[in-house]
Structures are given as structure tokens and as C-alpha cells.
Symmetry: C2
Subunit: 354 residues, 2 copies
């Protein structure tokens, strides 16, 4: 029976064990240094405290200190860390990988530079590996609307796997695809990763409507909420993901399929991105809002911070046009500039084709 | 003070009175033959029973029998009927319009023929007018995510107005645009209308996930819902609106902006389309599900029925490719063929670009 290692035993990393074990594989689930409590529970009573589920039979939990054992003879590695852990997992695995190593990453996010570069996280991870094997290691990534708890509950889920090599990604698909986990493949990993990173940013934006509703005292006596505003934010998010992909010479199709619109839909249904947006929608500045969520990884804020780093150069060079990103500019003002900017909806859809 | 007539005093038609009166215009609100109760209440105590709100001061309610008075000296007419009423309003207005008449319609839907034609409703209405003035009458339409009760509650809302003549639609914008009702204009009314009609169909599809969840007994003990499935349906809806627009040589951009993704988002948040989908998701056939909603106008089912009429010819002629519309095929099986088809998610995203 082939073995697979999952490194990072948070929600999504761990959930990937379900389709793998259902397909007959053994899974070594390795906690990071932040996951000792999870692994302790898994070892004690096979209960995953964050997923609130018993582990499948063929999953073996490992502490990080047991990483070498866990990696022995595995067919591939699932990187289950969040975006803060991408460099760490690269550095940690670097001494243990060879040119035949295959990795699939669930992390969503991106890194940016002040020169205007947007770097997808699989490339950040790859850069941690020894130079002579960097180009040989196969790295794939997962994108699309998939709440981990639903995957572990074997609820129907549809996702894309991406990798620069189609052969790699089709290989991964064969391991993971089940009758509840539906996987499509693309060799356009950059477009996929940009789309799924950006949707976290825009989900925060959708959450702002909920905060504004709260300030307005909730539904009015006739029952009016602020769904129209949330939908305008949602639509603008899809449009700006499209604008960004097009400007980056990536495939804009990902904006209106599983990775963009689909993933934004599920992310807007709840979670930390929406909560953070809601808090700022009530009028809190980012420093105030984020302090209420201290200890949580705020992927949405992280991606806005990264984009905010690159935007001035991208605008300056004419690689992006500022008027194509009114909502991202608003989000950057919120999160990076720690402002509570005026929301000028009148400029939001000025790029409509007449 | 300029006067405007709104014909059709349902939710959306009536709600259009709010931005108009806030902009200083007088509004004559005319009920159809189905709206006598509404108009009676409006005349008695100025309370709109469906919107659950007092009418603004400058709105005057009229019974249909008072239509001639209501149309006297108006700057333009708002058609506030639903898709079942489009021919009726055309026929009703036909003897009363001249070549200078300007109409803006809030109706969402489309008509189709077995020859594969998809006809937008403003064109259906136009065809009811006398031949010699048909081409001169200016008709515009509204599209985008806008729950009527929120518009009447002066909640922030963003929409498109479309008309073949940009001058007409910019004229309408000037009447309606307020600091809460944000209007963008396009001369591509066909793309706009196709997108907003299709989103009703796909909102029904998103509702199917809720029905499947119900059958599964709701959230499982670990708290897993079926958001992933709903998001996959949502994403597929956006993709198929895009595919349809592209195949119809319309502007695919409307699929991932206010009319497609945005309007699908707000429609998926609740209402009859979602309810009908949910009922069928529990395993009811269309005849069973729709009988539970007897008396309601089911715009989503109407549009699926129309598309279902055109699809065979469109596929036959090669104007559409069947594999580009797995979800619409599923919806047609549900609603037109009265089946409870197997949901084959594995074919849903086969048109991904690799």
C-alpha cells in the first residue's frame, strides 16, 4: 500500500487524508511545531480536535520530531501549512528532498515585491530547495471552493489541481479523485494560484457589507438587509480578479469558475476573512479589528498586504491601471494604510464596456 | 415637476419610485389587474403591503382603470411587470404610445423559439407596438443585484441600465441615479438581459444543494454543510453564463460583473428560485415542487423552460456545444423533462483550459 505524508495537520491539510485513505492509501499526518496539541489528541484517541472527527483507519499521526520516519518511502508530500508556513516548510523539507520529490500544496496566498512582482506560493516554497534540484522537484497546488470540514465529511466538493507539468497534476488527480472529491487539472498553476489568493482579499470586502449593516442597526423594520451591497462587492471582486489575471497575462477564465467566483462564494459564506471585513465595516481600523482576532491567521489581510506592496510599482509602470481596481485600492487603504476610507461606490463599475 | 409612470406595482416596479421621488420627480404608480389590493392599500393609507413601507410623498397610486390619467404628460414609463406580463404591457400600452415614448423595464427573463432563437424581453415588448413606431420607441432595461425591498429601504445598490441607444440609457440614469442607487450604463442591452435572465436559472441550481443537504439530514455532527457543492453550482453558473454569452456573440464580461456573478449572488441568498431548487434537491419532481409554490411567479423555471425550448436546435446547429452546459442540461432535465436526473459532477468542469 502506497504511503503519503501530509505535513501540517490543520483543517485543510488533515482533510486531504480522507480522499487519500478512501482511495486505499496510507497517510502519515505530521503536525508542525504549532500542531502538537492536535497530534497529541490524534495519537491518544484518534480524534482530530479541529475537524472534530475520528481519523480514518489508515492515517498515522506524527509529531514534527518524527518527521524523518513519516517521510520514509512516501509517494509524495502534501504541504498543509498556511501562507505563513510556506518558507518554513520549504526550509524544513529542503535537506530531506531529492529531485524525484513530488509535493502538492493546499496553501492559498501570494508574495509580492515592491518592484511589482507577484509570486505564487509554490514558487516561494520551491526557492527554499537546493539550487541543483529546484527545477526538478514537482510542485502542484489545490484551488477551488473547499471547506475542509466538508471534505472530511465527504461532502461533494469540486476543485482544480494545478502544476506546470500536466503529467504531475494528472498523477495527483489519480490519488485524490473520489466520488465526492472531484478534481480537474490545469498546467496553468500561476493563474489558479493568483485567483485563489485574490478571492481571500475580496471575501474580506464582502464582509464589509455585514459591518455596515450592523452599524445601520441590522435589518430595517420592513426587513431590508444589505444583500445588494454585498452582491456589488462580490461582483466587483470577480471583475477585479479578472482584471488582475488579464493584466498579469494569466488566464482570466479562472475568475469566473471554481477558483475565482466559486471560491469567493464559499469564502464569503463565513470565516475569518468575512469577520475581519465585518469588523472594519463597523468602523474599526485594521489595527483594532485584527487585535480582536489575535492568534488567528488572517490570510485575507496577508494577501492584501502583499498586493499593497506591489501596487504602487504596478501602477507606476502602467502594468495595472488604478481605475481597474477601485475595490482593491479600498481594501489596501483599510488593511495596509490602516485607514477607514470613504466608500465611493460611484467609481466601482466605471470600467463597464459600453 | 416632471412626472413618471410606473406600470406594475409589484415589489420591484414600486421600489423604483424611491430613487425617482428622491430626485424630485412625481411618480404615478399604476397597478396591473393583479395589483388591485396593493393599489387599494396605497390609496387608503399610502402603505404598500408587499414592500411593507409608506409610499414617498410624491407617489400617486392609480388603478389600471385610471391608466390614461396616469400616463398623461409623463416623461417616460417604467414597466414593472414580471416576465408573464411583458406581452400584456406591450399590448396595453400599444394604443397609448407614440414614437417619442420612452420605456425602462425591470423585467428579467427571455423568450426562446424552437429554431434556437433567444429573444430578450424588451424586444418582445417592442414587438407589441404598432409597426410604424416600433423602431422609434426607446426601450431600456435594468439589470444587476437589486432586491426591491432594499432599494425602497435606500440601501446601497449597484445596477446597470442598458439600451441600444446610449443616449437613452444615459437619460434614464440621470433620473434614477442617487447616492444609494448607483447606475452604470451600457448600449449592450442584449448581453445585459441574457446575463440577468440566465442567473435566475442558475440560482435554482444553487438551491438544489440546500435540498440535498436537507435529505442528508442537515449539517453532520462535526458541522459540515454543503457549501462546497453550492459553490461548485455557483461557479458553474457563472461559467455557463459566460459560455452562453460568448456563443451568442454577446459580451461575456457580463458574466463576471453585476449582472452575472453579482445578481446570481444576491438571488442565491434566498427567494423563490432557491426555494424551488431546494424542493427539487430533496427529490421532488418539478410538478410536485412547483405545486407547493402555486400562485407564485417562478421566473427561474420560466427561463429554464424557454432555454429548454431552444437548446435542441442550438446544439443541432452547432451554435452551442452540449458539453459546455452540463448544469443547464441538468436544470432542463429537472424543470422541462420533469425528471430527477442523476447529478454527474464529474462532467461539470470538463471545459477547463489546461
Amino acid at each position: 500500500m502506497e504511503k503519503i505524508a501530509i505535513v501540517g495537520s490543520g483543517l485543510m491539510g488533515s482533510a486531504m487524508a480522507w480522499p487519500l485513505t478512501d482511495n486505499g492509501y496510507e497517510v502519515n499526518l505530521v503536525g508542525t511545531h504549532l500542531d502538537d496539541d492536535i497530534i497529541h489528541s490524534c495519537k491518544q484517541n484518534r480524534f482530530h480536535p479541529r475537524l472534530k472527527r475520528q481519523l480514518p483507519n489508515n492515517v498515522t499521526p506524527f509529531y514534527l520530531s518524527e518527521l524523518d520516519d513519516a517521510l520514509k518511502d512516501v509517494a509524495f508530500i502534501v504541504s498543509g501549512v498556511n501562507s505563513n508556513g510556506v518558507r518554513w516548510i520549504g526550509e524544513t523539507l529542503a535537506p530531506k528532498v531529492d529531485q524525484n520529490t513530488k509535493i502538492i500544496a493546499i496553501t492559498k496566498g501570494l508574495e509580492a515585491t515592491e518592484k511589482g512582482e507577484l509570486i505564487i506560493l509554490p514558487d516561494v516554497m520551491r526557492a527554499q530547495f537546493p539550487a541543483q534540484i529546484q527545477d526538478n522537484i514537482s510542485i502542484a497546488a489545490v484551488g477551488g471552493p473547499c471547506i475542509a470540514g466538508e471534505l472530511a465529511g465527504r461532502r461533494q466538493s469540486c476543485v482544480y489541481f494545478g502544476s506546470r507539468e500536466l503529467e504531475t497534476v494528472n498523477m495527483f488527480r489519480a490519488y485524490f479523485h473520489t466520488d465526492y472529491y472531484h478534481v480537474w487539472t490545469t498546467n496553468d498553476i500561476r493563474s489558479l494560484e493568483l485567483a485563489v489568493a485574490l478571492k481571500n482579499a475580496y471575501a474580506l470586502g464582502v464582509g464589509v457589507a455585514a459591518g455596515m449593516l450592523q452599524v445601520a442597526g441590522g435589518a430595517d423594520p420592513a426587513g431590508a438587509y444589505m444583500h445588494n451591497l454585498a452582491a456589488a462587492f462580490f461582483a466587483r471582486g470577480c471583475k477585479e480578479i479578472h482584471n488582475m489575471l488579464a493584466a498579469q497575462k494569466a488566464n482570466p477564465e479562472f475568475a469566473y469558475s471554481l477558483p475565482g467566483a466559486g471560491d469567493l462564494y464559499v469564502t464569503s459564506a463565513g470565516g475569518r476573512s468575512v469577520t475581519l471585513g465585518r469588523l472594519m465595516g463597523t468602523g474599526l481600523r485594521y489595527d483594532q479589528a485584527s487585535s480582536q482576532l489575535a492568534g488567528e491567521t488572517l490570510e485575507s489581510a496577508l494577501v492584501i498586504q502583499q498586493i499593497g506592496k506591489a501596487l504602487p510599482a504596478l501602477y507606476e509602470m502602467g502594468k495595472l491601471h488604478k481605475e481597474d481596481f477601485p475595490m482593491m485600492n479600498f481594501l489596501v487603504d483599510l488593511v495596509v494604510n490602516n485607514q477607514n476610507p470613504n466608500l465611493d461606490l460611484d467609481i466601482f463599475f466605471n470600467d463597464v464596456v459600453v
